[in-house]
Structure formats: structure tokens, C-alpha cells
Amino acid sequence: MTSSTPHLATEIEAATGINPATCYQCGKCSAGCPMASESDLRPHQVMRRVTYGTREQALQDETIWLCLTCETCSARCPNACDPARIIDAVREIAIESGQANLPRNIGAFHKAFLEQIRTNGRLHEMGLVMDYKLKTGDLMKDVTNAPAMFTRGKLNLRADKIDGINEVRRIFEQCGVTP
């Protein structure tokens, strides 16, 4: 970390108004976390790492990408530390600084999802799945479900494009997001 780079916790506090050091490690968040059993770090450990770990360690951690944003941790935190919001902020900083180490599938999904919105203004599931398959190379994923979804009227072949698509593109530009 160079002197010009602020400490991660300071940066997080600037973005969210929450100082992650106020977490006193009671572990209530981790007790309720649905992904705790699949993650290397549980929520209270993420809180500790963003405060005391190195910047690289925290930003390159894969665990933050396994967060489902179910917000059970934040709802139960007795000290209003809002781990879900902190994790969201760390993900944002990780993407901006190019250090994000997100599992390929999850990254591909978010990217494909946002591309759909930027292109049509609405989500076109068929387009999303095709794009996701191309990005991950997992071409056979869920292929067997497609015909049944189609006959149940759950898959539209054509995308639903909105008239105000330029307004949506403007929002993406204004927020500095290019999927």
C-alpha cells in the first residue's frame, strides 16, 4: 500500500458511512449466513480482514463473491455494522481496482445480466442464458430444462426492448458502468 492509497477501512467508511472496525466479532452474522458452510471466510472474518488484513488480501478474497446479499447478517447485527453493505462496497472497490477475484461463473452471470439491461432495458432470459453459456463455455448447463420451460410459456424467444433505452444507457454512463 502506498501512502497515496487510503486504508481500505477508511475507503469503505467513506463509501458507506460504516466503520468496519466497530464489529466486535460476536459471530451472530456468521451463525445465520446461508453460504458460511461453502466460504473460506465467514462474514465476521470478512469484517476483521477489511479492518486489519492487507488491502490485497481483502480485495482478492473469493468469499465476498459467494455472498447472496440475503442480508441476514445485517438484519441480525447487534451493533449495526451492516456486513452485507460492507461486502457490497468491497466488491465495488475490487472491481474498480481490477483486483476482483470472482469465480468465473458468477462474474459471467452478472456481466451477462447487465448487458441484457443495457441492450434492451429489460432482462431477456433466453439472451441472458445464451450469453452466459458463451462466457463460461458451459454450453450444456440446464439444456434439458429449456423445452419444458418453453412449453410452460416461461421462455420468450424475442427480447422485450423498451422505448426509453437511451435513458437506460445514460444511467449506465452516468454511473460509469460498462458491462
Binding site: 463509501a15 446461508p34 453460504m35 461453502e38 459467494l66 447472496l68 446479499t69 440475503c70 442480508e71 441476514t72 445485517s74 438484519a75 457490497d88 462496497a89 466488491r91 465495488e92 472491481i95 469465480p103 461463473n105 458468477i106 459471467a108 452471470f109 452478472h110 445480466f113 447487465l114 441484457q116 439491461i117 432495458g121 429489460r122 432482462l123 431477456h124 432470459e125 442464458v129 452466459y132 448447463k141 440446464d142 430444462n145 419444458a148 420451460m149 410452460r152 410459456g153 416461461k154 421462455l155 420468450n156 422485450d160 423498451i162 422505448d163 426509453g164 435513458e167 437506460v168 445514460r170 444511467i171 449506465f172 452516468q174 454511473c175 460509469g176 458502468v177 458491462p179
Partner: protein, 378 residues
Amino acid sequence: MRGDPVTTVAEDVTVPAAAADAAGAKAGRGIAYYPGCSLHGTSPEFDESLRAVVEALGIPVAEIPDWNCCGASSGHTTDHLLGVALPARNLALAEAQGFDRVLAPCAACYNRLSAASLAVATEDGLAERMPEILGRPFNNTVSVFNAVQLLHEYGPLIEERVAASLAEPNPLHGVKLAAYYGCLLVRPPELAGGDDPEQPMMMDDVINACGADDVEWNMKVECCGGAFSISRTSSVVRLGRSIIEDARRNGAEAIVVACPLCHSNLDLRQKAMTERGERPLPILFITQVVGLALGLPAESLGLNRHFVATDQFIEDLVTRAAARVKEEQRLQAEAEAKAAARAARRAEAEKAKAAAPAGGEAAPAAPSDAAPDAGGDA
């Protein structure tokens, strides 16, 4: 309003007095409807059943023209501002149309729309920046609510309609339904709409208003795996299995949801969750449950679109309801016959008493002894 004729198809703008009362002054100029992508795509049955139910209850709703996707988890996971601005455009559109309430039935859309409204109201400088980001005026004046809150608000009217004599008996009477809220209807707690975020009851209340029985169980607010449906299916199967097993253990005959993501995770992926030959558990939208209780046809509620087939389940409910009504009628006929027999004996006794000479000693004793016995055997 008990005397009002029960209409199933309401005119576009007429609101039954009870409905208007229920909505109160909050209704303002009607309700703007934000279906969101799922209700137009993978969960058309949520849209169909919602429209059928609001029509039957006479609640005026109008779709927001040219709405855009709320960004879902991909939006705010990528960029906080994007996660606020995408839903805010829809609120701005509803505001421009003069609405003061937006109905977002999809739990994820509801969550994103109300989180955006909350962020603009509370975060420094966001309100000022919004018009520039959106390229249109935005004063953050509309409130957002979901399908559970809407149906809860109309709970008394639903109860009244269900209790009113229908052509067919209510198929949901006494059926055990587990209300599954998941994450987005109750978290963060500020968005729970006054419900308890750990032990919510609004959907349970609606289930009871329909004549069904809510189930007490443990997984009401656990996460189903949400957005990992495609990108990390193994997690969804693990989480969904524990939800379905707990509902079954507590006697649920079906799980009721108000989120298209919860629905597709528990319905489409249920096959992978149950491998021990248990009977699959139907997953119903709360709007479908209300529709069934109101006597709307199953096709109009999109019940044929589910992966866990519902036809046998509904057929069983209808058979049970018919048997229940038949049994009730039998018991009533039996009670009436007993009452009639008692009345006849009483009349006979009185007749005998009147016929007996005044001051006679044996006559009055006999009928008063015989009456209770005879009544029991009739």
C-alpha cells in the same frame, strides 16, 4: 358490505365500497403496477394470478408504461449508484403519471425499488444528483409495496368474499400451507413493511383469510440461494432441500411464495432436492392461493405452468372440499332430525299432560324421564 352482490369481474374504474375503504386515503389516484422482468418472462403465472385477483377484488391497477429492469442483485453488486438509479427511473415514471403508490409483486423488484427510494431519501447528495443521472425529474414521492402487503391490506375483503356462499365449496378450507418469505420481503428490516423480519406473519394472515391454515415452521426467512440459480446451482439445491424438508416435516401440503426467484428455485429445481421418493411439494404463489379461495378457475391463475404439477393436488383439494361439505350437510341433517324428534316428543308429552286429569300424579313423571334417553337414540 355483506349485502353487496359479489361480482367476479369489476369494471375498469369502479371500486367496491369495501375495497375503497380498505385502501383508504393512501390509494390516491390508483396503483401503478411494476411487473418486472420475471413476471413478463419466467413467471407469467404470478402476473396472471395477480391480475385475476385484483380484478376479482376490484382493485384498480395500471402498468407503468415503458418500465425498465430494476437491476436485481447484479446491479447493486456491481455498482451501488447503478443499483439505485435503475429502479429510480421506474419510480420517476410512476411519479410523472401522477401515481403515489407502486405495486411491485416480485420480491426482488420490491426490494430494489424501495431500497432505491430509501437511499435517495437518506444518502447525502443523492436526491440532488438523481435528475441529472436519470435525465428526468424525480422527487421521490411514490411509495413502494408488494403483493403480500396489498393482499394483507385487503384481507378483510378476501375473508368476506371467501365466506360468502360460492358456487363451489372453498377448496382451501383447512389446507395446511407454509408461508415462505425468503429474504427480500423482510430484509433489510426497514423494508419489511411493518412485519416482523424474523417471524413475519402477513402472508400467514392472508393464508388464514383464505380459509386455509398457516403452518408453524423454521425456514420462513431463510435464503433459497436466489441469484445463484444459474451460476451456482449446487448451493441452491442445498438450501432449497432444507427448506422443503422442514416444510414437509411440519405438515405443510404446499409452500406459498411471493417471489419468482424463490418459486423457480423451489419448483424447477425440486427434482434435484428430493431423491428419496417423497411426494413433491407444490410451490404456489400467494396470488394463486387467494385466486383459488375466491373460486377463480385454475387456468386463469396459471397453475398449469409449474414444474411440480398442481393438477392432482388441486383435484384432491376439490374432492376433500366436496367430502367436507357432504359431511357437514349430513351432520346438519342429523342434528335437524334429532331436534325434530325431540320437538315431536315434547309436543306428545304436552298433549298427554293436557289430556290427563288435573291433579293426576303418575302422568307428568313419565315424559320427563323418557325425554333425555329418547333424544340420544334418535
